[in-house]
Symmetry: C2
Subunit: 249 residues, 2 copies
């Protein structure tokens, strides 16, 4: 039975898993769980993940959720995945676990002020670019809090995790599951307008190079999977100078 991925390409960890499977030639069926239609809350999906979150996978009779756990499982259970993604060496593997744990408590941390399930990047994007266009009130406090955590996290990536000779996290010469997971999270910032994006990402030159390296290492799948984001960005910038989206609905 083919591996099933329950995903929505608008979700950062969903994109990481899709790209991982495509790059590593893992055969899968993509089942869209449309977050905007609240399909993750359906009783049908509850049978897949009782916690009603995506991404989730079903491999034969085995069900699994949480994106880091899924990436580790796929890298371990499917033959032909190159060692760089999730090294067999215990200390290299341990450093990847450490980095993924850090990721949870920083970039992926829920921004409690607004929506407990939204990450800081999603919260920042919501309260800068999306809210005004959707006719929703902007939560300035949430945006400011999210920006603070974002900038601090990007500095840590720049100065600690990207220290070393390699182009990837932990000094790696080739990408690991941690690179893919973190880059997909940060890609959410593509939705910002130029000014905000430059303020946040501009000072972090190594971070920018690393995103580009990860993108190049996973071509053409990276752009294909992120296409939904690029399209939304275009739509947003077209609509920005017009009336709020909500008045057109």
């Amino acid at each position: 039975m083919k591996l099933k991925l329950y995903v929505d390409r608008m979700s950062q960890p969903s994109r990481a898993i899709l790209i991982f499977c495509k790059v590593n030639g893992i055969d899968f069926e993509e089942i869209k769980v449309d977050l905007s239609k609240r399909q993750h809350l359906s009783s049908e999906f509850r049978a897949i993940n009782p916690l009603r979150k995506i991404p989730a996978i079903v491999d034969g009779r085995f069900k699994l959720f949480e994106s880091h756990a899924i990436l580790i499982y796929l890298a371990s259970a499917f033959p032909g995945v190159a060692d760089n993604w999730y090294p067999a060496d215990l200390s290299r593997r341990a450093r990847i676990h450490s980095l993924l744990d850090w990721h949870h408590l920083n970039l992926r941390r829920g921004a409690a002020v607004v929506r407990s399930s939204a990450t800081v990047s999603a919260t920042f994007v919501l309260n800068t670019v999306l809210a005004p266009l959707l006719g929703l009130p902007q939560n300035q406090q949430a945006a400011a809090e999210a920006e603070k955590i974002l900038v601090s996290s990007l500095s840590t990536i720049e100065n600690i995790w990207l220290k070393g000779d390699g182009q990837y996290l932990l000094g790696g010469l080739r990408p690991s599951i941690a690179d893919l997971s973190l880059v997909c999270e940060i890609m959410q910032l593509e939705l910002l307008d130029g000014k905000d994006r430059d303020r946040i990402l501009g000072p972090h030159k190594k971070v920018q190079q690393w995103i580009e390296s990860t993108r190049n290492a996973t071509r053409p799948h990276f752009d294909e999977v992120h296409n939904v984001l690029y399209k939304l960005k275009t739509k947003l910038s077209e609509q920005k100078s017009r009336t709020p989206l909500s008045s057109k609905m």
Copy 2:
């Protein structure tokens, strides 16, 4: 060279690692990094963990931080650790990763309203029992927010993670690193006074049994390592009816 653990027994993940090593006969040197003296911010400790958080370990020349990553490393790198702690079977292992990831985003989630590095249990304890005794202002909003996440997390443990025949998480018949990590986090609630503790933990009968099972499976180390907490609890209840601690300092 002996394994070095940089810990403070007042920190929940430090306790989990200490208990794990003791139960599994792993020889180690305990190096106290006193949080109350802000020793984790010292330049000396920065050389161990640039992110200045405990617990951290040094094994030979290998340095590692983040408690889940440490538990996985210890279970994998040291001989003689029973399989139940971190099973070799890929799907059992994957479910443990999934559970540890969930832990990060729930019980261990930073309660953003007060201190970004405090977990919800620590935040709740601070704003109910500790703040008044320390002469600090109680943040009612933070306490209420933390209680909400706590109760919701305990319900998920009770109804989803403790589903099954076993006494442990994921239906296990013996404890895993996830049991130890989560139980040590919840043990922070021991500092609450009886009324608050009963309100939070009372309705979760399976959770209470599971804490007791984990304690029994790791005796006598569990109580020995938690002794610092039991002592503080006694001290707090003695001082509760008297003047604020701050006026005695």
